[in-house]
């Protein structure tokens, strides 16, 4: 062990020297952080891939203010401690702008670090309130609370139901966040929440109890603020017990049509509120989806779209404030902050998006309904 320690310390000394070497500031160094291993890897991978697509496109078109963009994506294993390690590594690399992190809890930990360093941060999908708490932090996606409120508003305004049941994941930040604000907003809407049932990460395979309770309470709409994997199980089990209410989901529901072994006819009539739909007809979405499919295979999800928009938003903001990579990290941050609040941005996840000083986006979610195996806009 001693010998090992000796060798390790020699190598360590070596890399310490390497890490202090200077770098030329003729490119934009944009760092990304997200889980590329472990249970949440699918989200981190999607973001990493989409960032690369966006960077390649931007570089092909001449870069940001004439400077090329370099991407470095680090794994955080969906863990706060690892995310901070990843952030420090990126700082050594010379990162000037951070697009991350992908998931909420690590994002809160990293946001405290970026605030310290005054480094500009835009999270594609960190939806917890605290993720964009600092003045330097922005986000592309909606907050969890916003999604809950908008869903309740939508159901109430369109008179979709009288009795609503909720099934949510109590061990998940995203799901609880949406659930809580949904219930708060529901009080002032014309429907009644008749059943609230939770499940956890350790019991997410059998939903018959939750469904039975919803059925007994006479709910005609079941609100599912959860991810599509569990939602597909709920739909299958509801069909088996001949319970056919309207199912209403949020952006985590996106992807349900691609679940392997899932009978997609069961998803007919499922409604969801989401800012991004891969089957949308517009040129921007078509271009992105086809590129993603060609390079990485599979249909890009919401996270990928958020990440793609995130990098383009950085570009738009940097151009609005006329920044260049020679500036200090803090100056870039100040410039981008000013830029972000002044731009109106058209992206995959909504047209005419603007940001306020708190870093929150303002854009309209699209309500979709699944018809004949594809998403169709709902009006």
């Amino acid at each position: 062990m001693n010998k090992f320690a000796k060798i390790a310390s020699c190598v360590l000394a070596g890399t310490m020297v390497l890490s202090t070497s200077a770098f030329a500031a003729d490119t934009w160094k944009v760092g990304g952080i997200g889980p590329t291993t472990g249970g949440a890897a699918v989200y981190g991978q999607a973001v990493a891939n989409a960032m690369q697509i966006a960077a390649d496109e931007i570089n092909e078109a001449g870069g940001i203010n004439g400077y090329q963009v370099e991407i470095n994506f680090q794994d955080d294993e969906h863990d706060a401690e690892k995310a901070v390690n990843a952030y420090n590594t990126l700082k050594d690399w010379g990162m000037q702008i951070l697009e991350g992190t992908v998931t909420s809890t690590p994002c809160i930990a990293v946001a405290a670090e970026t605030l310290n360093d005054n480094m500009f941060q835009i999270t594609p999908s960190g939806s917890a309130q605290e993720c964009a708490a600092g003045a330097n932090a922005f986000r592309v996606c909606f907050t969890d609370p916003a999604q809950g409120t908008m869903s309740a508003l939508y159901i109430g305004e369109h008179g979709l139901a009288e009795k609503v049941a909720i099934i949510y994941n109590s061990s998940d930040v995203y799901s609880t966040g949406i659930y809580e604000t949904f219930v708060t907003e529901a009080e002032s809407q014309g429907f009644e929440v008749v059943s609230v049932e939770a499940f956890t990460e350790d019991s997410k395979t059998d939903f018959s109890v939750q469904l039975q309770k919803a059925k007994e309470a006479g709910a005609d709409l079941v609100f599912l603020p959860i991810y599509y994997t569990e939602a597909s199980l709920i739909l299958t089990q509801a069909a088996a017990m001949e319970y056919a209410p309207t199912f209403f989901g949020v952006d985590g529901m996106d992807g349900i049509l691609d679940v392997e072994g899932f009978d997609t006819t069961l998803a007919e009539g499922v409604m969801l509120l989401t800012p991004f739909v891969a089957s949308a007809e517009d040129e921007l979405t078509q271009n992105f989806v086809s590129k993603f499919e060609e390079l990485y295979g599979g249909i890009p999800n919401q996270f990928a779209a958020d990440a793609y928009d995130g990098l383009y938003a950085i570009k738009a903001a940097a151009e609005a404030s006329d920044l260049n990579p020679d500036m200090s990290i803090s100056d870039i941050c100040e410039g981008l902050k000013a830029g972000m609040t002044s731009i109106t941005f058209d992206g995959l996840t909504g047209a005419g998006c603007t940001w306020d000083e708190n870093g929150e986006p303002t854009k309209d979610p699209k309500a979709m309904v699944i018809e004949n195996g594809v998403y169709a806009p709902m009006e």
Binding site: M1, F4, A5, A8, V11, L12, T15, M16, L18, S19, T20, T37, G38, N72, Q74, D75, E77, H78, D79, A80, E81, K82, V84, N85, A86, Y87, N88, T89, K91, D92, W93, S104, T105, I108, A109, A111, A112, A128, E130, S170, S171, D172, V173, T176, G177, Y179, E180, V183, T184, T200, E201, D202
Partner: protein, 364 residues
């Protein structure tokens, strides 16, 4: 006899010396900003992993019981102390005082749970401790995830359903928010405090091992019946070692909680995986070898979070790219290689032949 004592003292001095030397090199570098951000960010994690590994070694190596719930005690310490710090953030502004109080509270709570688990289980023979601690770790993690505590002008509110049912008044804040845990914790951990905690842990564990009580504990490990026959109170000594180990794990948790701005209980940081990870540190460093438990966590964390990440930045070579892209895979291979190199009998034989036979020492 005199010679043995001085030999032990020398061995202890080397162990303390390694920690102090590491501190003496790293601290000035970190203070003057000469250290890369990634390495200086790892200094505090090094400290708590060492504390956790050394304390687990007390249970596994010295007491000879397998504990698979060490992360559970860490979790108790982390949440108890973070909750305390969050509550008094407005009233106690001196971060050192706040941290020391948090440290006491965290360790005390972890020790309490150690006693509660230990009293029924340590009376049994066999692998029961492993089973019960495994369950304990998971229970604690799930319990913390349904805990909602809020505070407003009327006092503290508590719920196990959701944060809405706290019914907080105007200006109330949610302190512990179920699966979202505690956020906005003051980051009071420093490398100096971490190093002091490591030294304190080493002092407690080494003193315990070399005391009369420690010899009784090791006697139980080596032969329970013989120990019982000469009148050693088995339950008492087992409980003593186990509680000290739990309290120190709690102290490690305190350092962990105050190092990041947010604290959540996931299977990644306080679950079964973490317990096994700490056990891996202990086994790598050598069961019963305290110095090994100081070195192994540092080396393994350096490999995983420093070198394998750094490789990507060192050049465009496809080999380096592959190594950093498959960080977790390479890490697993490194673990297996170290295990084979250090513990396979064939390798030990070869190593002894190569470097000349050295006497294996049990106490470190």
């Amino acid at each position: 006899m005199k010679k043995t004592i001085s030999r032990t003292a020398r061995q202890n001095a080397i162990t303390y010396g390694i920690v102090l030397a590491f501190f003496a090199v790293m601290q000035p570098l970190a203070m003057t900003g000469k250290l890369s951000s990634s390495l200086s960010g790892l200094l505090i994690p090094f400290c708590y992993y060492v504390v956790l590994a050394v304390s687990l070694n007390l249970t596994v190596g010295i007491l000879g019981e397998l504990s698979l719930g060490h992360a559970g005690f860490m979790c108790v310490g982390a949440f108890a102390s973070a909750f305390f710090s969050k509550c008094v953030q407005g009233t106690i502004t001196n971060s050192l005082v706040r941290f020391l109080l948090a440290l006491l509270i965290g360790s005390a709570f972890a020790a309490l749970f150690g006693i509660l688990i230990g009293i029924p289980v340590l009376r049994l023979r066999g692998d029961y401790l492993a089973i019960v601690t495994l369950a304990f770790g998971e229970i604690i993690k799930n319990l913390v995830n349904v805990l909602f505590i809020g505070r407003d002008s009327e006092g503290i509110h508590f719920s196990m359903k959701d944060s809405l049912s706290l019914h907080l008044g105007e200006g109330g804040e949610v302190l512990v928010n179920g699966p979202q845990g505690i956020s906005g914790i003051s980051r009071d951990s420093t490398f100096i405090l971490g190093t002091i905690l490591v030294l304190l842990t080493l002092f407690i564990v080494l003193r315990l091992i070399q005391s009369r009580d420690g010899r009784a504990i090791m006697a139980i490990r080596d032969n329970r019946i013989a120990a019982e026959s000469i009148g050693i109170n088995i339950t008492k000594y087992k409980l003593m070692a186990f509680t000290v180990s739990a309290a120190l794990a709690g102290a490690g948790g305190v350092l962990y909680a105050h190092n990041l701005a947010t604290l959540t209980a996931t299977s990644k940081n306080f679950g079964y995986n973490m317990s096994i990870m700490i056990l891996v540190y202990v086994v790598m460093g050598g069961i019963g070898n305290i110095r090994g438990s100081v070195i192994a966590p540092v080396v393994l964390n350096l490999v995983l979070d420093y070198f394998l990440r750094k490789f990507q930045l060192m050049g465009d070579s496809p080999v380096l790219q592959f190594l950093s892209d498959n960080r977790m895979l390479i890490y697993a291979i490194v673990l297996i290689l170290i295990m084979v190199m250090t513990w396979s009998p064939k390798m030990v034989e070869k190593r002894n032949a190569l470097f000349g036979r050295r006497k294996e020492s049990k106490e470190g």
